[in-house]
């Protein structure tokens, strides 16, 4: 449930590239038409996020995908990426850029479909639908479609799905998500490995009581507990299919067998990758993806500043260029949004992250002090550091607008008053006799971190706190604040959901029973009501009821516990060349949707 | 006795018939500290086949004078005035091209330290042949043959083998011979030898000097021999010129200068020179004091701060009035001829033994 340290850091630092796999959602995002101005873009995404993501049936999962208006096949698309792909083995994929690539080359049991109206549906990908549950959500049955093949033409069977699941237990798989393994083994942490210590490689298999494959096209999961999020789970790129006949273990990470519309022609680690059409991908089996572009020519090492400058110039080959993951860098944002000719070549949307300033509950035990802190902190400082409206949106709670069932709420009035309320805070402190309470404020020594920490510290002093700023190096920031006995009172962090459900946010961040060094409960919240509510809501089988309960719990945490103050919902603006067609922001990938792109002829 | 026909300060015309005639030569260097008057109104003449010795301490202007003759000073930082006439051809103000054609061809120079004066990067043979190839239009092969011939002439054994050696492979004496070979390769009419034997031991010194004399016999060159060592010039020079602080202070034939020197500075030089026959316990008498700064030379006679005989002149004249160097044999000193003679005989000569 934890994101990597670098992921957290990236978001705290600048909100630049996001290292999360699947996330966010809960409705719209942008429609397929390119928007004309920022306000329209923002209001549009906000409206559509109020919608509800649905689990698709057979009809919704049937290929081919709805054509992108005006799309023409052919051509080469240049892709400017910052980071090279470290992992290509589905079992090792978790971070966002690899997840983006995975949507082009890998397929799993389910996936997210974004239609031309901007609606998201979880549909069957290799499977005929998003999953059939029985036994109160404990048993999930999937049937494979006809005509699904690996890049070499071998049909994909239930044997491959079983293999793909079982190999996740092998010791060399350490990077990918662990939800499925934990659900099957019914354990926390990495104890699941005991279930199948060597994976399938020494002939052992998961028992039919957990995973059964009665025929070549049917797979049945028997979870010990109800798992109502299963359709989301299988949409994670980390649970994509691996060719059981060609599994080369560690080496598969460098040369995986493709099942998606594209396959890897050439990968020069750290330099470039070329994707070409997979001839054995049948559009009639895929309701979400297209295969318009002939070749994706991906090059790495492009910082956001570099990709932005190239795309802004729109010269030569930059006209047919795009970046899957780079956002417009903060410095160039004013130029991009200020020039209509450039601005029309952008898409915008949410990232899954919610920023917060944690209050260390082990040290700040007084509720009044925490409340005064929460009121006094000017969230505007963080907002500005992230590039204002193009990089952030003021947060009212810890749950992002990209989650299913999102309700706009601002119980502490933070979004309404981003400058903070020093007077109210001072009054609380005075009344409680806590004026001049000592606060050690740890901040990360990035440019953004230094900027907003000064503003925040000044505001806290004005509210009557005795603030000490403590600078922490960026590469060990999360190691230091992640210690349970750290000596800091307040510090920033950010958390993103793994799929559009609050169940991947509140339990990891606010469950008091998970407090440990490096666990993401950075505020060390241990509240009996929160803990019992988590247990109760996780047992609910009605998704709508669960969603409402999560958001109610969120309000309780924001107002009655105050383990921190939410600052912003992260957003981003992405730019593409003038000859790039079909550019749409996909909130499920937190990036431009690679499967819809085409080269304008 | 073939030289010096006119007084210094009159800036006379170059002497007719003299092979090299220097008239009223001034050499000034601009430095960060000011103008250095390295040569301050010098005149002399030299005939073919004759050897002129120029003696003086370091910094007296001996080398500067001769570099001026060759035109080797950097024109950007050096101001040269006066006349230098070589065989009827005016050299001051001559074009670089003209000078290049003369250098190494009609006039050549032997430098003091053959280790630094020869390029370490090229063979001895090549360095000897270069001027021959350039001035005589010879081919490389001819140049090499000529270099071998010259090496043999200056007494290098097995010249055919040694021609391809580099300078550092030669001993000091051999290097000096090679340098002489290089200077003589085009049979120059004027040979300037700047302290050619200083760095060598005594036996080799003698050989080199003999060699110079022999070569002069053969080629009939005029030679200027620069040295601070009166012992050396006494063996080979016909005439002597004593320089102090950029000026000539005494001149005459070698014999005259050694037997009846007139200038107190010349006396000092003789006194500080060890003699072969003298008692080893006998003390040498160095000239007291240090050579003057050429940035601001003393007024009057430049030697007066170190001179022990200014009282004899009296009236403080030495500190005010600069003495002239008279025509021909003579010295630039305010002492009367009588005084010069009696001081030398009474106090100097006994000390010289």
């Amino acid at each position: 449930m934890r994101r990597t340290r670098t992921a957290l850091l990236a978001t705290v630092a600048a909100g630049a590239l996001v290292l999360t796999a699947c996330s966010s959602g809960g409705g719209g995002g942008n429609s397929t038409t390119e928007n004309k101005d920022a306000k329209v873009k923002q209001s549009k995404s906000a409206q559509q996020l109020a919608g509800q993501i649905t689990f698709g049936d057979d009809a919704a999962s049937k290929g081919p995908a709805e054509p992108v208006p005006g799309a023409t096949p052919g051509g080469t698309m240049n892709v400017l990426e910052r980071d090279s792909y470290t992992h290509l083995d589905p079992g090792q994929i978790y971070v966002s850029n690899e997840g983006q690539l995975a949507t082009l080359i890998h397929r799993g049991l389910t996936t997210y479909k974004l239609d031309n109206a901007g609606k998201y549906t979880v549909v069957g990908d290799l499977a005929t639908n998003s999953g059939e549950q029985s036994d109160g959500g404990k048993t999930w049955t999937y049937h494979l479609k006809d005509g699904i093949k690996f890049q070499d033409g071998t049909p994909i069977t239930s044997k491959d799905i079983r293999w793909s699941v079982e190999r996740l237990f092998a010791p060399f798989i350490t990077n990918g998500p662990a939800y499925l393994q934990q659900w099957l083994a019914n354990t926390a942490g990495t104890d699941y490995r005991k279930l199948l210590p060597d994976g399938p490689y020494k002939g052992a298999h998961l028992p039919d009581t957990l995973l059964s494959t009665p025929d070549a096209k049917t797979i049945v999961f028997h979870f010990p507990k109800p798992q109502t999020d299963t359709p989301y789970l299988f949409a994670m790129p980390g649970y994509s299919v691996v060719d059981s006949a060609k599994d080369t273990k560690q080496a598969y990470d460098k040369a995986p067998v493709a099942s998606g519309p594209y396959m890897i022609k050439n990968f020069d680690q750290g330099k470039s990758m070329t994707l070409v059409k997979n001839p054995n991908w049948d559009p009639n089996t895929d309701s979400a993806r297209h295969q318009y572009v002939d070749t994706f020519a991906i090059t790495f090492n492009h910082q956001a500043e570099d990709s932005t400058k190239r795309l802004m110039s729109d010269s030569g080959e930059n006209q047919t260029s795009v970046s899957f993951d780079n956002a417009v860098d903060t410095d160039n944002t004013p130029k991009v949004v200020g020039d209509p000719a450039i601005y029309k070549r952008t898409v915008a949307g949410y990232q899954p992250f919610v920023g917060q300033i944690d209050f260390n509950m082990k040290r700040l035990t007084d509720f009044d002090v925490r409340k005064a802190l929460a009121l006094a902190i000017p969230t505007k400082a963080v907002y500005q550091a992230l590039g204002a409206e193009y990089g952030a949106e003021y947060a009212g709670g810890f749950l992002s607008p990209s989650l299913a069932g999102y309700q706009k709420a601002d119980p502490l009035g933070k979004a309404a008053n981003p400058n903070g309320d020093a007077a109210a805070a001072k009054k609380i402190l005075t009344d409680a006799g806590k004026l001049n309470t000592k606060i050690t404020y740890a901040y990360v020594n990035t440019t953004a971190g230094q900027q907003y920490s000064v503003t925040i510290a000044t505001a806290l002093k004005a509210a009557g706190f005795d603030v000490q700023r403590k600078e922490l190096p960026s590469d060990t920031y999360y190691d230091l604040i992640g210690k349970v006995d750290n000596q800091y009172d307040i510090y920033a962090s950010a958390w993103g959901a793994d799929w559009p459900s609050a169940s991947t946010v509140i339990p990891p961040v606010f469950d008091g029973r998970t407090i440990a060094d490096q666990a993401p409960n950075y505020a060390h919240v241990n509240d009996a009501h929160i803990n019992s509510e988590i247990d109760r809501i996780e047992a609910l089988t009605d998704p709508a009821a669960a969603q409402k309960a999560w958001f109610d719990l969120n309000t309780y945490i924001v107002t009655k516990v105050i383990p921190g103050v939410p600052t912003v919902y992260y957003k981003q603006l992405q730019l593409f060349g003038s000859k790039v067609g079909g550019a749409v922001y996909n909130n499920m990938f937190s990036a431009i949707d690679a499967t819809k792109l085409f080269v304008k002829q | 006795m073939t030289t010096m026909t006119t007084p210094e300060d009159a800036a006379p015309k170059a002497a007719q018939g003299a092979f090299l005639s220097v008239r009223d030569l001034y050499v000034r260097f601009s430095t960060e500290d000011g103008i250095v008057k390295a040569v301050d109104g010098l005149s002399f003449d030299l005939q073919r086949g004759q050897t002129l010795g120029i003696v003086g301490e370091s910094g007296s202007g001996k080398s500067v004078t001769n570099l001026a003759v060759l035109g080797l000073h950097n024109p950007a930082t050096t101001e040269i005035a006066g006349e230098i006439v070589l065989d009827g051809q005016e050299l001051t103000g001559a074009s670089n091209r003209t000078l290049e054609r003369l250098r190494g061809n009609r006039m050549a120079m032997i430098f003091q330290d053959s280790l630094t004066a020869l390029s370490p990067y090229y063979t001895v043979g090549r360095q000897i042949a270069e001027p021959y190839v350039k001035h005589r239009g010879a081919s490389k092969r001819e140049g090499r043959e000529r270099a071998i011939e010259m090496l043999e002439k200056v007494g290098i054994p097995q010249p055919r083998l040694r021609v391809d050696d580099y300078p550092h492979q030669f001993s000091g004496g051999m290097r000096q011979r090679a340098m002489i070979a290089m200077a003589l390769v085009c049979n120059p009419d004027l040979l300037i030898a700047d302290e050619p034997t200083t760095a060598l031991d005594v036996t080799v010194q003698a050989q080199i000097l003999d060699l110079l004399s022999d070569l002069q016999q053969e080629f009939g060159s005029a030679i200027i021999l620069i040295t601070h060592d009166l012992g050396v010039v006494s063996k080979v020079a016909d005439d002597l010129l004593v320089m102090y602080a950029g000026r000539a202070v005494e001149r005459g034939s070698t014999r005259q200068l050694l037997t009846e020197p007139q200038h107190p500075y010349t006396w000092g030089l003789l006194g500080s020179m060890p003699r072969l026959m003298s008692d080893v316990n006998e003390q040498l008498t160095p000239i007291p004091g240090a050579p003057p700064s050429l940035l601001a030379p003393p007024p009057g006679c430049a030697f007066h701060p170190r001179c022990g005989y200014t009282d004899l002149v009296g009236g403080g004249r030495c500190a005010v009035q600069r003495p002239d160097l008279p025509l021909g044999r003579g010295s630039a000193c305010h002492l009367t001829d009588q005084q010069k003679r009696s001081v030398f005989i009474e106090t100097i000569q006994p000390r010289l033994g």
Partner: protein
């Protein structure tokens, strides 16, 4: 000569051993666990332990060092694949074999280094010699001050400026990129011309100043005066005598510069998104990728050491006193 080479090579091996040990142990002095890199979101202590074992980090550091050094020569069969000698192991970050990665990055760095060397030698020595030739003149003053201004320029400033002026805004030159010479010589040239020039700026200024000062120094050497006294022309003396003597300091600095350039020009590669050894070095540091870091460090150290030996060998060609003694 042979004895000289053998002796220097042995010395180089000792230096490289020292550098390797220093790098290796220094790496472990950094309080950062390289296993975190591969730990993903499921970073439990158990998972870390598994990764430590997978990466061989469960041995004591001296044992790890010993194994690393031995495997360079013997090769080793890793889980990620077979690694024949010279074997620097597999990257912690992306499981790529280190040695082939180095070899893969070398052509970019080689092209960048040698190309810019041509540019900075041409311009640096040219202007430096011109300044020395016209010492004290207006030309000299203009060139000297221009080189001073240029030498204070920084690549990370000039690079983006040049890109903005010549590529983004006007598209006079191509977007810098590396195309192998063997694939398309024209694109190789047009893709590297900007990086060459930008990387050369600093060097050009240095070489201008160095060429000027050593030439002036050499022109005052006695043997140069001797050559002039022989009647050799100004140009002949300048180019044959003074120039020959200037070669030694120039070759010395060039050897050091080229050695370090071949280890990767980090800022230039970063600025122009060229994937050479410099880029690899930066990445391996930021990703705490020990095997890659060791590979790059040893490779670039070896380059510097090698070029030092080469320089000494070149001395012998330039200076017969060294050759014949």
């Amino acid at each position: 000569m042979l004895r000289f080479l053998v002796r220097r090579t042995l010395g180089a091996v000792v230096i490289l051993l020292f550098i390797s040990a220093f790098t290796f142990f220094l790496f472990f002095a950094i309080p950062h666990d390289p296993a975190l890199l591969s730990c993903g979101k499921n970073c439990t202590p158990d998972n870390l332990k598994t990764i430590h074992h997978n990466l061989g980090l469960d041995h004591p550091v001296p044992v790890q060092y010993y194994l690393f050094m031995v495997r360079i020569f013997t090769g080793h069969h890793f889980a990620a694949g077979n690694c024949p000698a010279p074997c620097f192991g597999y990257s912690f970050a992306n499981s790529e074999p280190v040695w082939p990665t180095l070899i893969d990055r070398l052509p970019t760095t080689l092209s960048l280094a040698l190309g810019s060397m041509v540019v900075f030698l041409l311009f640096g020595l040219g202007t430096g010699m011109l300044a020395a030739w016209r010492r004290g003149s207006a030309v000299d003053k203009v060139l000297s001050s221009a080189s001073l201004v240029l030498s204070s320029m920084q690549i990370y400033f000039v690079g983006p400026l040049v890109l903005a002026l010549l590529v983004y805004n006007n598209h006079i030159l191509d977007q810098p990129k590396y195309v192998p010479l063997t694939q398309n010589p024209v694109h190789w040239f047009s893709g590297l011309i900007i990086p060459w020039c930008v990387l050369s700026i600093l060097f050009t200024a240095n070489y201008t100043r160095m060429a000027r000062s050593t030439m002036i120094e050499q022109l005052q050497e006695e043997h140069v005066r001797t050559a002039r006294a022989k009647g050799m022309s100004g140009a002949y003396v300048f180019f044959r005598y003074a120039w020959r003597g200037s070669l030694i300091p120039i070759v010395t600095i060039l050897g050091i510069d080229l050695g370090s350039l071949l280890g990767g020009a980090m800022i230039t590669e970063w600025t122009f998104q060229l994937t050479g050894l410099g880029r690899l070095a930066i990445d391996s540091v930021t990703k705490t990728d020990l095997p890659m870091l060791m590979g790059v460090m040893l490779f670039s150290s070896a380059m510097i050491v090698l070029f030092n030996i080469l320089v000494d060998a070149v001395y012998a060609f330039i200076d017969p006193r060294i050759r014949l003694s």
